[in-house]
Symmetry: C2
Subunit: 225 residues, 2 copies
């Protein structure tokens, strides 16, 4: 093999490694959202704490993937398709790390809620969590498979989440108005609802990146979001 | 001039253009935060609306800068320092666009507040806005000048903002408890406070990127944030 061929092979391997890492990071992040919501629903401070403690893993993924991207760019001048993939990976990496932060916010609120007298959890909260996780899953899946159609589905869900968030916040404000003694838990639930809405926004960002990558045109700031 | 020299000159020009654009985008974003907070303090729905309408400019900057980065990477294999600068620019571009979104959130809340009976605005709110804007300004300045020391100063301010946000939220919850009729305005002020805290977080992200770029080591997830 020539030097050039060796470098080419090394490049392909590094690219596969980056893909694998993004998939793993996506799955850890999805898991964090699921555990944080379970902690809210089942009033489990221990599970909430575990989500907070495990955020370091997501942060470590981000740093590792950033380094991999810089290495890939330095290694050789990637051709158009690879270059677009690598730039998308860098942005998706950042989005996933932020989703991890929102999981931590939800877990912090879950811990607060567990320490307060129980209140009814609105059905909007688990519903939003379920949709947001599905959006995230599809967006990452779409990224790996370069599947723009799958990612278009993600964009349509963002409006559903926005409506659910609006409904949830409205109901919670009414709850406080009726009984101000529920203020602490209700404010935590508002915070949880808004964080889920942000997770859906970030999943939407990822989907937009994938569509851009696959079709090389900007959908961002055109579809709602 | 050889072809290589022509491409090198073109590369340098493109890089300068990207720098200029990031500075302009930073200044437009700073202005958006300032106008949004003025809209809160002076109960000006018109100014709030102007901030919302002008967000398209920030989004347009993001798309333009993203394209410039892809062009720069495709144009020629940048050397280590340039490569790190370009990757940092991509991330900072993304952070600035998100700060623009937070300015929009604050402006939306300002519009809601202007439609409600007036309440006292906590001194924490303009104080946070002032510090967050300064952090953003220093972070962008540090980026352009490659000044890691300036950016270290940004990191220390993040804790001050976190404390101010905590105090503001606590006081606003007490206000609702005392007089539940203030709930709408108080919840908007809580949202404003949390958005300012997020602006400071993003300015901190930018500062961390600059330090990483300047010193090629990861400060992220070590300093608070």
């Amino acid at each position: 093999m020539t030097n050039r061929e060796i470098m080419q092979r090394h490049f392909v391997q590094e690219l596969e490694l980056l893909k694998d890492n993004i998939v793993k990071m996506g799955s850890v992040t999805e898991q964090a959202i699921e555990s944080a919501i379970t902690a809210v629903l089942e009033r489990r401070a221990d599970l909430a704490q575990a989500v907070i403690d495990r955020d370091g893993r997501i942060n470590a993924f981000e740093i590792e993937n950033d380094d991999a991207v810089v290495d890939l760019l330095a290694l050789q001048q990637p051709v158009a398709t690879d270059l677009r993939f690598i730039v998308a990976a860098l942005k998706i990496n950042n989005d996933l790390e932020r989703i991890g932060d929102h999981a931590v916010n939800i877990a912090e609120s879950a811990r607060e809620c567990a320490a307060c007298p129980p209140v009814d959890i609105l059905p909007e909260i688990p519903r939003m969590a379920q949709i947001a996780r599905m959006m995230l899953h599809d967006a990452i899946d779409g990224f790996i498979r370069g599947d723009a159609a799958l990612c278009r589905g993600v964009l349509t869900n963002d409006d559903i989440i926005d409506d659910l968030n609006r409904d949830a916040v409205k109901k919670l404000v009414e709850t406080i108005r009726r009984d101000v003694s529920t203020i602490d838990q209700s404010l935590e639930l508002i915070r949880i609802s808004r964080n889920l809405e942000r997770v859906a926004d970030l999943a939407t960002n990822i989907a937009e990146e994938v569509i851009f990558m696959a079709e090389a045109r900007v959908v961002k700031h055109r579809f709602g979001g």
